[in-house]
């Protein structure tokens, strides 16, 4: 088993191109090490945490760019995230624990592609663009198109997730991330909801809604958000939106919860959170 710790992106791409699926590409390892067999069919470990170009949270105008090495602790220490990416900030606050936030990366959370991932719903409602880099160049994929099943993404061998570009909140944005878990820390979401919309003169526009832990992948809303687009935010529209949310998720029974509970909790979260903005 070989271990590499490249310092530059072009070195990283060389290694990834050369070793393809034989390589374990690692950063914080908080999900990886827990999977007992992760290194079994791998000959090479490629550690990205020393690649300078992949560190840092950059303000790139009307978007923010997260490097692949950005940890959840980095998010919590960033005024830019706290003030202009409120749903993602809240996700970082409830993610894992102090120890896990100091190591776990947003990129790793995305590539691990759990339907319960805390960063994915807020990134979906912020229209995140994933910048995938390989020897043949850059490919940009919207996060909503990236997941094909639990733990499965469209990332190809030879590609790495280098950057995540996300739209900022504006002064008219109402947004939240709400996670329902057994404890306040170290719990995997039983159900979660992320929401982002512009509210002007009482009316909603640019409505975006995503649900976690209630389907094989994080679910991007169709009906509930279409319904809310252009509507006044009031008790009636919230109740109808929550009913549509109830119907458009597909949760299962598992060790953490029943499908029935999850469906009801999604509905109640939508009501409880949106009522604060009426």
């Amino acid at each position: 088993m070989e271990y590499y710790s490249p310092k530059k992106v072009n070195e990283l791409i060389e290694l990834v191109t050369k070793h393809q699926s034989e390589a374990a590409i690692i950063a914080g390892c908080t999900d990886i090490i827990v999977k007992n067999n992760f290194f079994e069919n791998k000959n090479v470990i490629i550690d990205i945490t020393s690649v300078e170009e992949l560190k840092g949270i950059q303000d790139i105008g009307n978007k923010t760019r997260l490097g692949a090495c950005v940890t959840f602790a980095n998010l919590l220490n960033s005024d830019l995230i706290k003030n202009q990416h409120k749903a993602l900030y809240e996700a970082a606050r409830v993610y894992g624990s102090v120890q896990i936030r100091n190591r776990g990366t947003v990129a790793g959370n995305i590539i691990n592609a759990s339907p319960a991932a805390d960063s994915i719903p807020p990134l979906m409602v912020a229209n995140a663009e994933l910048v995938l880099v390989s020897k043949s160049g850059e490919e940009k994929v919207n996060i909503r198109d990236f997941f094909v099943g639990p733990g499965k993404t469209t990332l190809k061998p030879g590609q790495i997730l280098a950057f995540i570009d996300i739209e900022k909140d504006t002064s008219d944005t109402i947004t939240f991330y709400r996670k329902i878990g057994t404890r306040k820390a170290l719990s995997i979401a039983k159900a979660s909801v992320a929401f982002k919309a512009t509210k002007a003169n009482g009316k909603l526009s640019n409505v975006s809604l995503a649900y976690g832990s209630v389907g094989p992948t994080v679910i991007y809303s169709k009906e509930a958000q279409k319904y809310l687009e252009g509507k006044d935010l009031n008790n009636e529209s919230i109740d109808e939106a929550s009913r549509l949310a109830f119907n458009e998720v597909s949760p299962i029974d598992d060790i953490r919860s029943t499908g029935e509970y999850r469906r009801l909790v999604i509905k109640n979260v939508v009501i409880e959170e949106l009522k604060q903005y009426v």
Binding site: T30, S97, V98
Partner: protein, 161 residues
């Protein structure tokens, strides 16, 4: 290119722990926790779950509280590592140890090294935390015995001294 490998499937690494330099031979997939306990015989850091869920293996790396069970040993190179054994040269760790005893915050003792590391990491960055901030600071460390009340009190007493 920064590659480290040997023919034997192991590699030599250098670690800076409690201001001492250690050299040891490891597999690239060995966790830092395994190397601390089994190779370097620094057994103060405990194995609780091996999954990053309990915090018993918590250490401080470059000023950050982390679970050593989810770090690969080669990743710890070039970093400043503090473990519970660092009490010899670290007054804050010693104060926390004394406070845990005074307040009765130790029962079986298994979570204690990790809790003290959590307290040390918290107080270094935030010397005067609120009770909520202390609870947040130890939220990644499980204790089955004490109910946490005396642990919080012990950390609070150090912050006020």
């Amino acid at each position: 290119m920064s590659k480290v490998t040997t023919d034997k499937d192991t590699m030599n690494i250098t670690l800076n722990i409690n201001n001492k330099v250690y050299n040891t031979e490891v597999k690239p997939t060995d966790t830092l926790l395994f190397v601390l306990r089994e190779k370097l015989h620094l057994t103060g850091t405990k194995y609780g779950c091996g999954e990053g869920e309990c915090g018993a293996c918590s250490i401080i790396m470059d000023g950050l509280l982390v679970n050593s069970c989810t770090i690969l040993a080669p990743q710890a190179q070039g970093k400043e590592i503090i473990t519970i054994e660092g009490h010899e040269n670290d007054e804050l760790i010693r104060k926390l140890q004394d406070a845990f005893i005074t307040e009765g915050a130790v029962q079986c003792g298994y979570c204690t090294p990790g809790m003290i590391m959590a307290g040390r990491a918290l107080l270094k960055n935030n010397p005067d935390p609120s009770v909520d901030e202390i609870r947040e600071g130890i939220s990644g460390n499980l204790c089955r015995c004490t109910g946490y009340v005396k642990i919080v009190k012990a950390i609070e007493s150090v912050s006020q001294s």
